[in-house]
C-alpha cells in the first residue's frame, strides 16, 4: 500500500525561495525511506509539506489518503513528527512532557503513562524521567523528542535529522528502535539526514535531493546502477595493495590467477561495492560538474 503519494509538489516561500521543486514520490507502508541532501536542500520543507504545516504552491500530496493541507489535524493523529526546531517544555519533567503530549493526542492518563514509561526505558531516559527538561543535555532532549513523536503509536514517523546531538551509542539504540518499528510494527519511516553513512545503515530506499530537486530515487543497488564503476576489488600482496575496478564479481578469479602466475603472494582479497556516499557524489558530479562534489 502506498502511504505517501506526491505529484509535482512544489513550495516557494514568501521571499521567493523555491525550497522544493516538482517532487513526485511514493512511499510504501513499512519502508524506511532516506531523504538525503545537504543543508538547505529542502528536506525539512518537504516534511512540513507532508504534514500540512506549510502550504504547497503547486502539485498535490496525500498521506494515508488524507490531504495534509485540508485535514492536517486528522493526519497528525496518525503521524509522528520530529523536527529540529520543535522543542518541549523546560519547566516540566521529562515524564510530564510525555504525559502532556499523550493527553493532547487523546490517550487516557493510564495509556499515556504506560506508553511514556516504556519509551523512556527504551530510550535510556528512565533515570532522568523526574528531572526537569532544563537539566537535560542535547542528546537527552533529542531522545525525549523521539519518545514524544512516538507517544501516540503513529503509523508514519517523520524524522528530521534524528541523530543530531546523539552520541554513537545512542545512535545505535535509536537505529535498533527505528528498524524494529518498520519491520515488526509496519510503521513507515521518512528519515531526513545529511549524514549519508548513517542513512546507509538503516534505510531501504533513498531519495537524493539538492537545491529543492530530487535528482535520484531508489534502493542502493538501483542507485549504483545509475553510476558507472561497479565493484572495487582490493588485493593485498607482499609488495602492494591493488585496487581494481570490475563490472562483475566473475572477473575476480582471473585477476587472482594472473597475480599468482606472475609470482605474487596473495594475503587477502576483498570486494567493496560503492557506498551511498560514493554514489551520491558520483551522481551530484554528473548533474553539476562545477560543484566538485566535495561538500555534504
Amino acid at each position: 500500500m502506498n502511504v505517501i503519494i506526491t505529484e509535482n509538489l512544489s513550495k516557494t516561500y514568501d521571499g521567493g525561495k523555491e525550497a522544493v521543486k516538482n517532487l513526485t514520490l511514493t512511499l510504501e507502508q513499512g519502508e524506511v525511506f532516506g531523504f538525503l541532501g545537504p543543508n538547505g536542500a529542502g528536506k525539512t520543507t518537504a516534511v512540513k509539506l507532508l504534514n500540512g504545516t506549510v502550504s504547497h504552491t503547486t502539485g498535490s500530496c496525500r498521506v494515508f489518503d488524507i490531504d495534509p493541507m485540508t485535514k492536517p489535524e486528522e493526519l497528525h493523529q496518525i503521524s509522528g513528527v520530529l523536527t529540529e526546531h520543535a522543542q518541549m517544555y523546560d519547566h516540566m519533567t521529562g515524564l510530564d512532557n510525555l504525559l502532556f503530549f499523550g493527553a493532547v493526542f487523546g490517550l487516557s492518563a493510564g495509556e499515556s503513562k504506560t506508553r511514556a514509561l516504556g519509551l523512556l526505558e527504551e530510550l535510556e531516559l528512565f533515570d532522568a524521567k523526574d528531572k526537569r527538561l532544563s537539566t537535560y543535555s542535547t542528546g537527552m532532549r533529542q531522545r525525549l523528542s523521539l519518545a514524544r513523536a512516538m507517544i501516540h503509536k503513529p503509523k508514519i514517523l517523520f524524522l528530521d535529522e534524528p541523530t543530531s546531538g546523539l552520541d554513537p551509542e545512542s545512535i545505535l539504540s535509536v537505529n535498533r528502535m527505528i528498524k524494529n518499528l518498520a519491520e515488526n510494527e509496519g510503521v513507515t519511516i521518512f528519515l531526513c539526514t545529511h549524514q549519508l553513512r548513517y542513512a546507509q545503515e538503516i534505510c531501504c530506499r533513498y531519495g537524493l535531493i539538492d537545491d529543492g530537486i530530487m535528482f535520484a530515487n531508489g534502493t542502493l543497488d538501483e542507485l549504483r546502477g545509475l553510476v558507472s564503476g561497479g565493484t572495487t576489488v582490493k588485493i593485498k600482496t607482499d609488495t602492494d595493495i591493488h585496487e581494481i575496478q570490475v563490472e562483475d564479481e566473475s572477473e575476480i578469479p582471473a585477476i587472482v590467477k594472473r597475480i599468482v602466475n606472475e609470482g605474487g603472494n596473495i594475503y587477502s582479497v576483498s570486494t567493496e561495492k560503492p557506498s551511498l556516499e560514493d554514489v551520491y557524489f558520483a551522481l551530484t558530479n554528473k548533474i553539476d560538474p562545477a560543484r566538485g562534489g566535495a561538500s555534504a
Binding site: A86, Q87, H91, F105
Partner: protein, 264 residues
Amino acid sequence: MINSKQAAIIKKDIFAIVSNKQLLTALIIVPLVFTVFFPTIFILIIRFAPDQVNNIEQILNMLPEDMRTGDMQTTIIAFLLDNIMPLFFTIIPILASSIMAASSFVGEKEKRTLETLLYSPLTLTQMFQAKVWASFVISMAVTYASFVIMLIVVEALLLFAFGNMILPGLSWLFILLAVTPAMSLLAITLIVRGSAKAQTMEDSQQRSVFLVLPIMLVIVGQFMGIVLINPWYLLIAGAVLGAIAALLMRGSMKKFTYEALLKR
C-alpha cells in the same frame, strides 16, 4: 465544547504560569496594589487627615444631593468605593490576561514549543480556543480573588476607622459580571492579534497599554470633574465591549495559518 485534548492544553498553560515565579509575582502584586494598597491609603487619609485632601469640599459639592446622605467622610468613601475603585479594578483583568496570553501565545513561539504543538491532532481554531480559555480562566480567577480580598480589607478598615461598613453598590455587580470579562477578552484578543508579529513576550504584553491608557485617562478625569458612573451603563458597556472582543477574536482566528504562526 472543550474536548479532552484542549483541556490538556488549558491545564498545561495554567500550570506553566503558576510555576513561573516572575509571572506569578506580577499576577499577585499588581492586583494587591489596586485592591489593598490604594483603598487603604484612601480610607486612612479620609479618616485621619481629611485636611490633607485640599479640594475635598469641592468634590463633595460636585456630588448630587441624594448621595450626601451621611456625614462628609462616609459620603466621600461611598463615592470612592463605587466610582473610582471600579476603574482601578478593571485594570486587573487587563493586566492578568495580557501576562497570561503573552506567555501562552508568544512565549510558546519564543521557546519554540509552539511548533511541537502544531503537530497535534487539533485544528488551529481548537488550539486557539484552548489557549484563549486558559488566559480567560486565569484572568477571571485573579479578578474575582482580588475582589474578595478587596472587600474583606476595605470593610475591615471601614469597621475599624468609622465603626460601620459601607457595602459596595450595584455597579460592582456589573463590573464583575460584564465589564471585567469583556476587558479580559479584549486584552487577550489584542495579544492574539499581535502574536504572529511579536517575537518576545515583553513586546506582546506592551500592547495592553492600548487598553490601560484610556482607563487611566478616565481615572484622571474623575478627579478633575466628576462623572458619576451609572451602573446600567456599565452593563451595557460590558456587553458591547464583550461583543466587539468576540468578533475581533473570530476574525483573527480565521486568519491564522501554521506558516504565519511559525514565522520569525
